[in-house]
């Protein structure tokens, strides 16, 4: 084991000994790839002699999305308590940077499931895809069926009067503040969104904010064992998560597929059945365009972070090239008058 990682793991074990008032000894520690917003570590311990797995997420010097760790942690607590979706059990939030140099949170390790988007295309997963799709959009529908008050998230999240307006203002600000080069496609999409703003929804709920392939753990049987990465969670319109989950960026090799699993219309039907809500197609079109603008904002912000920030994570630089290229293509396919819809099908 990397000696620095070993030492870090022992510090975590010592810290947890204090939290649990128990003897904790490090067994193994490994860094989990893909944690663009936080450094993520899988740690196996012996707690008073019994096996115990945890996941630690530590603030990096620079991250893909500027978010508050306490906000994310409280969201995990609320969702875990409600049982509306499977999430890892939150154990501790440490905001004092003294313990491990930077603030961090610790959750229980979810022992089964993989987040890999690419593995969804493997032969072993083909039979389980319908079940997985059913679970994925049923869970999202279930989340939409609960009010923010029922989940208790309105105790620490703002309740917007006009979610679409608020989200657009925020992400437009990110694009204009962080773009390293003028963005005519993003600006055209923003103008379209401003012209076609939907009425405020009467159904406010907890929005995950990044509900997509790669942010949930699944098994080869198609079960979902955990929904992860709640750092962009907020109270808003449930159509926001639905549109984000269906964005062609997450489609994989076949752009007609929602999240590499099933056709978009089928996913939408599962969500409607589970949530008890009927999708307003006009509003949904708005959220589909918004999803691509928000994603573009994240890639733009990542590129800016790579250039001007302190972390030189390759994922941040990649966001600024092929990811922006793809997302722009999706917007062009959907908004330009003579689109051939070669990359993104027409809006649902």
């Amino acid at each position: 084991m990397n000696p620095n990682l070993q030492l870090f793991g022992e510090q975590i074990a010592d810290y947890l000994s204090g939290v649990w008032a128990a003897e904790c000894n490090l067994e193994t520690i490994s860094q989990i790839p893909g944690g663009a917003s936080r450094e993520t570590y899988r740690i196996n311990l012996k707690r008073d002699g019994n096996p115990c797995g945890v996941v630690l997420r530590r603030d990096p010097p620079s991250s893909l999305i500027d978010t508050e760790r306490a906000h994310e942690y409280k969201t995990y607590q609320a969702v875990f308590k409600s049982g509306v979706m499977p999430v890892p059990e939150p154990i501790v939030l440490e905001e004092d940077p003294g313990a491990l140099e930077r603030p961090f949170s610790i959750m229980a390790l979810v022992p089964t499931g993989s987040p890999s988007p690419a593995a969804l295309d493997e032969v072993a997963m083909q039979a389980a895809k319908p079940t997985l799709a059913q679970n994925k959009w049923s869970l999202l529908g279930k989340l939409a069926s609960h009010s923010a008050t029922e989940l208790g998230v309105d105790e620490f999240m703002d309740t917007p009067t006009h979610p679409a307006q608020r989200e657009l203002a925020y992400w437009t600000g990110v694009i204009r503040d962080d773009a390293l080069h003028p963005q005519p496609i993003a600006e055209a999409a923003i103008r379209w969104l401003e012209r076609n703003m939907p009425a405020p929804t009467s159904h406010l709920c907890l929005v995950h904010g990044d509900y997509r392939t790669g942010n949930y753990l699944y098994t080869e049987e198609g079960e979902i064992t955990a929904i992860l990465d709640w750092e962009m969670a907020h109270i808003g319109d449930p159509l926001e998560d639905l549109a984000w989950s269906l964005d062609p960026l997450w489609s994989g090799p076949d752009p007609r597929m929602a999240g590499r699993l099933i056709r978009r219309e089928a996913a939408l039907k599962i969500w409607e059945d589970s949530s008890g809500l009927i999708v307003d197609r006009t509003a949904f079109r708005w959220w589909q365009i918004f999803a691509s603008v928000k994603a573009l904002a994240i890639w733009i912000s990542s590129a800016e972070d790579y250039v001007n920030g302190t972390t030189k994570e390759p994922i941040l630089a990649l966001a600024g090239w092929p990811m922006m290229d793809r997302q722009s293509r999706i917007l062009l396919d959907r908004l330009s008058p003579e689109s051939t819809n070669s990359y993104a099908e027409p809006l649902l």
Binding site: P182, P184, A188, G214, R329, L332, E338
Partner: protein, 140 residues
């Protein structure tokens, strides 16, 4: 000198992915090396075409600006059509291209309300621009 730096970058990316990556012990190390290989491949694709693509955009924007009869700020647009980047170094070409894009955004905003033909032409330009700068890289 090797007169094909873009190809060399692509070769390094392949070497990293096929030789170094499998030798790395940790899952994190392998993922990081994979990202670096993809990043190098991305840069290799942009390296050769970057200046040419920006200058093609600039030429096509000139045509759009020259046809923008009635647009506000027309004098600035026409002045842009007569200008050149300070040099063919990428940073100077980028700066010149960025100025053109700023004007294009203004013009597009105006065209949406005043000239359906120009609006369509600008969208067509944006599609050509995007196609020129497309990356052949696996998606997320």
């Amino acid at each position: 000198m090797i007169p094909a730096p873009g190809q060399t970058l692509a070769d390094i990316a392949t070497r990293l992915a096929t030789h170094l990556l499998p030798e790395l012990g940790s899952e994190y190390g392998q993922a990081d090396a994979g990202l670096l290989a993809t990043l190098l491949l991305t840069i290799s694709q942009d390296y050769e075409r970057a200046v040419d693509n920006r200058m093609t955009d600039v030429e096509e924007m000139r045509d759009l600006f020259e046809s923008a009869t009635g647009a506000p700020n027309l004098n600035a647009l026409l002045e842009y059509t007569q200008s050149q980047p300070q040099s063919l170094h990428l940073r100077d070409v980028n700066a010149h291209h960025a100025q053109g894009f700023e004007y294009l955004i203004e013009l597009h905003t105006w065209a949406e309300h005043h000239s359906a033909d120009l609006d369509t032409e600008i969208w067509a330009f944006l599609r050509r621009h995007n196609e020129r700068n497309k990356f052949d890289i696996p998606g997320p």
